[in-house]
Symmetry: C2
Subunit: 220 residues, 2 copies
DNA sequence: TAATTTATGTCAGTCGATGACAGATGACAA
DNA sequence: TTGTCATCTGTCATCGACTGACATAAATTA
């Protein structure tokens, strides 16, 4: 890796660090891009060459987590039933979080706290989740051999799982939550989902019941 | 109602109409507040006296729907099991949509299309849903006599229902979907949820199994 | 009609974000 | 080492969303 690339990498990290420090100190909204840029001693214009927006910076790490889940699902055996494949992918995700946080255990919690402290960031993170949902749905539908545009079950099943992820990674702003606590909560919510869903339904496949109830009107 | 109030009401409607017309014509992002204000012949500053933001206008109607669901839940009999209460509240919502759309059947679909055509609006609408979730969760927890901070089941159950609402009201941008089609989809997704969830789990109440698995660490 | 309240317009300014151009700096070949 | 080239960066100008302050115009009430 050349000097140029190393420098870029360093600036990017510096911007992230400075930004999150300021966010935690004075909030997301009241931290200006100018402040962040000044803290790293680059021009505000340069900031936008590294991150498309202030929001992009705050949600930067979520991208890698989304990728983590989608690839984890892709790695599950083809014949694994949809629900098991999804929950296992989620477990892989939790585990990756545990491992990846070795250097800085508070990082994930810190980031979640910044996000949950700001409605705009919450909103944006939901929207990203929606993108991930699309990918997961496509993969489940492919495995089951159904068309996700017609059969709503893959879509709904994925929505259940991501609902669990959301609930599991909620992180009250007041109380000082540790990563261990948060991971524990994620595990427990995951097991709640496993209790909640009808195991028969979750093993739906092409031709099983429930297939029809999707399009209301006749096709033209 | 005095002249002043009537005038205000009229301006508000005019702003909404003009805005949505422009949104559908040229997109949400590329429609400026100045354009909307000009179309109604008010100053841009006045626009912001009616709506906190351009986004607020686009999501204006969602507020009333959120209220609809929460009050529908509150109206369910106290002894109705949580899941039934939620699904019935959702049915009430669908029905209200059907009735309320009598004058302008395309309105709901039009609004959904504007929202789903723009990531920012999608994001914001998720965030509002999250607020509604909080209220619903509080109500379910109250009925079941559990603490939503400790027992994650009300939270998760509500998240399932709102997941269903999200999936049900998704409205592909390309295809021209009618309100009837959309309502039909909502109904069918609702019945899918009823099939998917374990009826036993959904009747959880204080002291039933599943209660413990929520907090990971010891209580201090 | 006079006094009071309230909605609106104007103006100035902040902040996020983008395009255009010029200068600085690292990469690479001769 | 030197010169060329690609790329990074700063500066400047600009747009659009949004806000506070103040003055004016209109509606409400006495």
């Amino acid at each position: 890796m050349g000097l140029r690339e190393r420098k870029k990498h360093r600036t990017r990290l510096a911007l992230c660090d400075a930004a999150f420090e300021l966010f935690l100190e004075q909030g997301f909204e009241s931290t200006t891009v100018d402040q962040i840029a000044a803290a790293v001693d680059v021009s505000p214009r340069t900031f936008f060459r590294y991150f498309g927006s202030k929001e992009d910076l705050a949600l930067d790490y979520t991208v890698e987590y989304d990728e983590l889940i989608t690839t984890a699902l892709a790695a599950r055996p083809e014949d694994e039933p949809p629900f098991q494949a999804l929950t296992n992918a989620y477990r892989t995700f939790i585990h990756a979080l545990e491992v990846g946080a070795a250097e800085d255990p508070a990082r994930f919690v810190r980031q979640r706290r910044v996000i949950e402290g700001n409605p705009h960031l919450m909103a944006a993170s939901f929207a990203r989740m929606a993108e991930t949902e699309k990918k997961l749905t496509a993969e489940i539908a492919r495995r089951q051999g159904t068309d996700p545009e017609i059969d709503q079950r893959p879509r709904l099943l994925v929505a259940f799982i991501t609902a669990a992820i959301r609930v599991g990674s909620e992180c009250p702003i007041e109380a000082t939550t540790s990563l261990a606590e948060l991971l524990g909560k994620m595990e427990s919510v995951l097991s709640l989902v496993e209790q909640a869903l009808d195991p028969g339904w979750c093993q739906f496949s092409l031709g099983s019941s429930g297939q029809v109830a999707t399009k209301a009107s006749s096709p033209g």
